[in-house]
Symmetry: C2
Subunit: 298 residues, 2 copies
DNA sequence: GATGCTAGCTTAAGCGTTTTAGTGCAGCTG
DNA sequence: CAGCTGCACTAAAACGCTTAAGCTAGCATC
């Protein structure tokens, strides 16, 4: 049950550990005949050799881990798919995902970074709260304008002219919310719609119901995400109101009326984020365009 | 920006790296005067020394990572809170959480394990699917009987006598589902209720609606989890039916009727799982008893 | 005044890798 | 046949840490 190391493979195949390392890593600039390569590879497979990530990390100065910091970000819609895509792609390149949901003290992120020496850090929390730095989410934010256009476009095509934009009042989503607001304004203007009303949606249903009621001219609500959309639906007593979500969650389909929403290829963005984190070219990880899932609510 | 190592701290405080290591780890059996300790600790703090987890892992044979394998387990209710508790407690003991949602090939789990040399593996996926081994979920499963009693007890106290148990047809939850079934039967019997009916809830609403309709004597449904409960509510046309969820999710409160459910201290179990993973005594990580969140649906 | 004991250190090995700098040998060149 | 080149490797250092073993000075003991 003990760990199989390079040394074991080396003795088994009658060469030095250096040679084994060269063979298994396909090291460039080494002239090793096919016969030897075969022997080594066979031995490695037979013994079930798996490189020791920590040893490698020590030597190379950086581990094959990528750290994702979500720091208490609400689980909203796609986070899970995003993570799946991310993990999948990392896997494919021999890396693993280290997650910090870390509701705790922010200083501890630094500690984890130094202790785990990750290859890269994806700091969604910072990115979405606006305190962010130069980290990368695979273009998620970049795609936001297009996805917003998908959402608003649908309402426009249904003949709605005066919209409300429902944003969450969660400070952790502050930056995303203000981006969405800007995009919505831009697109509404481009489509020749009336200026949209912004309502804040939190735990207090009465608050956003009142906000909506005070704008009777509004016929449709574009929500920040499905969760926000469901809160709007749940809070309002106007049955004529069209509501569209964003970033599909499974629950929306169960609702009455079932929630029309925008499906975003979160896994695709996850894969892209992974590629960028590893320094690969992101171009070849395609992301599908967002599209409207038409159901009953809009 | 280069990494601060033991060596740096050693030179700064005028001792050897061994001494520094002893001081910083409070090594037993070493006689080091307070003056020296202070000097070392001060230097470490000043330089911002953070131990290199990988180096330590190499030396100690095991890293300060704990691997959680959820392997595509549906995000159901408490998983997130569980993870938060887990991570929080691990943090407190200088460990970090490595997550594999790993929808992919199961063999890759082994690879990750060998590559990351985690201190422990928590294999929820295996545990809940029934293929599980001797891993530990902090007593989550052990507590299941009690939580089920909370749920069924509520229905009984409301005068319901003939129940349906709504289980998901997701094979990944097979073991959990059958456990819940067993517990429900036991408790129902103990409470003197009529034998309960089991219905399977999947994506096809008509199926479980029909199943329910064919048992008109059933006045209440105890669901496997909130998601299942919402599917039942969404599928049925019987307004008199009482439905209670399990393992509270945020969405239930928004529903009409709002979902009565059982709140479980998932974070507590997470913390326990962490303690057990680290080999601490789990006893001193208290878990709150489950309790019913009474809303409109039951 | 040799011996032993303790306090307060230091030395050095070793964890499993990667990688630089060789080494020995065969074959070819001039 | 000395010198060179290319092949097929190997030796050894280094990454940062822990820890067993050792070492020295100072003091107490007989």
């Amino acid at each position: 049950m003990a760990r199989v190391t390079l040394k074991d493979v080396a003795t088994a195949s009658g060469v030095s550990i250096a040679t084994v390392s060269f063979v298994l890593n396909d090291a460039a600039g080494q002239t090793i005949p096919a016969a030897t390569r075969d022997r080594v590879r066979r031995a490695a497979a037979e013994l079930g050799y798996v490189p020791h990530g920590m040893a490698r990390a020590l030597r190379e100065g950086t581990s094959r881990l990528v750290l994702l910091n979500t720091a208490g970000l609400p689980p909203g819609g796609s986070l899970r798919s995003f993570i799946e895509g991310l993990e999948d792609e990392l896997d494919q390149h021999g890396h693993a995902l280290l997650v910090r949901h870390g509701t705790g003290r922010s200083g501890s992120l630094r500690r984890v970074v130094e202790a785990a020496a990750p290859r890269a850090v994806i700091d969604l929390a910072g990115l979405y709260a606006g305190t962010g730095t130069d980290v990368d989410d695979g273009g998620w934010i970049d795609g936001l304008a297009a996805h917003t256009a998908t959402q608003i476009g649908h309402l426009a095509s249904r003949g709605h002219h005066r919209l409300a934009l429902a944003l969450p009042d969660d400070p952790r989503l502050a930056r995303l919310a203000s981006l969405r607001e800007a995009h919505t304004r831009q697109i509404a203007e481009a489509l020749g719609l009336a200026e949209s009303v912004v309502i804040r949606v939190g735990d207090d249903r009465a608050a956003h119901r009142d906000a909506l009621d005070s704008h009777p001219g509004v016929t449709a609500v574009a929500a920040f995400d499905d969760d926000t959309a469901l809160r709007v639906l749940s809070g309002t007593n106007r049955t004529d109101l069209a509501v569209i979500g964003f970033d599909e969650t499974p629950h929306g389909a169960l609702w009455k009326p079932s929630l029309t929403t925008v499906r975003i290829d979160a896994a695709g963005y996850g894969r892209r984020a992974a590629r960028r984190a590893l320094g690969h070219d992101a171009g070849d990880a395609p992301v599908q365009a967002s599209r409207v899932i038409v159901r009953e609510s809009a």
